[in-house]
């Protein structure tokens, strides 16, 4: 879940009030930042790290999740990023607050401007990326995300990023979804969204996915391409049929390729319901090319 603007500041306030007993300071809008701080996960070390940036100057370090960076590391890094010596203590306290917030809200990443207001460090504009998979422990933060389509999908366990195309694509697994988007775009077809239902292939979740693709994105055709290992394909097929029945059918051309654990039973159920089946990814791509109109190749 991504939060920016007032939502991000509210989130930071809420979590720091909880762990420190007081809300953090925010600089009045328009206050020029001294530097930008980021806390995230180092993709090489697979450990938490912070980064500071001011113009072309940069400093950062890996630190223990619970203990956070030491005071010495904080001061040295702030100095290297060009912070004025007199402001090191107050900026160090702000950076430590950012680290505590990152740990307490189990964030994937946090980025915040640090400003000086009446001689004290304060947060400026910030952006937060919360871990969808940890939000079950943070109901108070989850509610800050609102009730838009993105959040309804996320709450159903669906990974979703809206795109601007006209072919609805429903896959299992992020890698498969990304690979299908690549193949469709290589063929000149624009998918409506990145949408992965692997964590919850239930009728309710699939119905929500169809609502997103067909009603919100107004997809002109639907392609389902799934190759399941842990997700039983017979269950997915039942979920798809039930979700389609609730809407009175897809009402757009639909093709399904279904492989993997339970695939034979799933395919038989779909065929019995009159749903067109594809035998390969290449066939799904060819179908999408026939029915898309927003192709740009």
């Amino acid at each position: 879940m991504r939060l920016t603007g007032e939502g991000a500041q509210a989130c930071l306030s809420r979590v720091l009030s909880r762990v420190e007993g007081a809300a953090p300071r925010f600089a009045p809008p328009g206050t020029p930042p001294v530097l930008t701080m980021a806390v995230g996960i180092d993709p090489d070390a697979l450990a938490p790290r912070f980064d500071l940036r001011a113009g072309t100057r940069h400093a950062g370090a890996i630190a223990d999740l619970e203990a956070g960076p030491s005071d010495r590391i904080l001061r040295e890094s702030l100095s290297r990023a060009g912070a004025p010596p007199a402001d090191l203590p107050t900026l160090g306290r702000l950076l430590r607050q950012a680290w505590r917030a990152f740990a307490a809200m189990e964030a994937l990443a946090l980025r915040a401007e640090a400003a000086l207001s009446e001689g004290e460090a304060a947060f400026g504009a910030c952006a937060l990326w919360l871990d969808e998979r940890a939000l079950f422990r943070h109901a108070d933060l989850e509610s800050l995300g609102g009730d838009g389509l993105d959040r309804r999908l996320a709450r159903a366990g669906i990974d979703y990023v809206g795109l601007d195309g006209d072919v609805g694509l429903l896959c299992i697994g992020a890698g498969m979804t990304l690979a299908m988007i690549d193949r469709l775009r290589d063929a000149g077809v624009r998918p409506a969204a990145f949408l992965d239902v692997s964590r919850n292939p239930s009728p309710d979740a699939i119905a929500l996915a169809l609502e997103a693709l067909l009603d919100h994105h107004r997809a002109r055709a639907m392609a389902v391409n799934v190759f399941g290992g842990i997700t039983p394909m017979d269950r997915l097929a039942q979920g798809l049929l039930e979700a389609l029945a609730r809407r009175g059918g897809a009402r757009v051309p639909l093709i399904v390729r279904l492989e993997g654990t339970g695939g034979e039973v799933g395919r038989a159920a779909l065929a019995a319901a009159g749903i067109a089946l594809a035998a390969s990814t290449a066939e799904v791509v060819a179908f999408a090319v026939r029915h898309a109109c927003g192709g740009d190749a």
Partner: protein, 298 residues
Amino acid sequence: MSILVGPETRLLVQGITGRQAGLHARLMRGAGTDIVAGVAPGRAGARVEGLENVPVFGSVAQARAATGANASIAFVPPAGAAGSLIEAMEAGLDLVVAITDGIPVHDMLRVRRRLEALRAGGFRGRLVGPNGPGVIAPGKAKVGIMPDGICRPGPVGIASRSGSLSYEMARGLSAIGIGQSTVVGVGGDPVKGTRFEDLLPLFEADPETKVIVLLGEVGGTDEERAAAWIARHGTKPVAALVAGRWAPEEIPLGHPGALVLDGKGNAAEKIETLRRAGVHLAPDTDALAAIVKGLLSR
């Protein structure tokens, strides 16, 4: 030969009393895996349908002591998964495979830190996953959830960040008569136990593996690190694809596997880095299978 698993694997199943665990334990046994024990905290002595001769213990340490298990596969719900993975590593197993999808990333940071502390103390085992399909050495053993019938024994070693793409690849190769030595799903999460670079030396040393396939995707630095290893040490041909060439910038942080900081981790850079290391790149699994066929006939 194969890597990570084989006839010597003595597997215990963590969370064996769960529905998915029971189903996949039976499928793994059907694929030739020697399943010696189950673990279900608080339910020692339980019986699992279709696995009546598999004893169930309350802890990994007890299961290991009683049965000589040397590997584990964890089907444990996300909230309790980190503790189960740490328990299995602390019990000293050679291989711990984590199937669970949805483990909070900060929990995995703690698992990773514990893994590194254990390694510093001499632990030689490996954690594979989480959020991946596990490991299969076709015809020998399966410690995972790959669908039946898509693999066959042969000369290609596959390492994949995506479960579904590894199925697609294995099946595509098998369909043109090319089998696999071992297929390893390293998992789709950003913080995991095993990366491509950890598997490359094993495939290099495995006499059965003639060609290595990497199925990468946007986010993180796994592909760049693999390229660095290949450039320095690789002697076997490597073919790869990187999924997410058309992923818009907001996808990386919206999808579990990806952490893009400062523009690192986009597909174009990964592809270029791999190409410079001598890796053969393909746009999709069909084209990749054709490249592998060519590499094998050289």
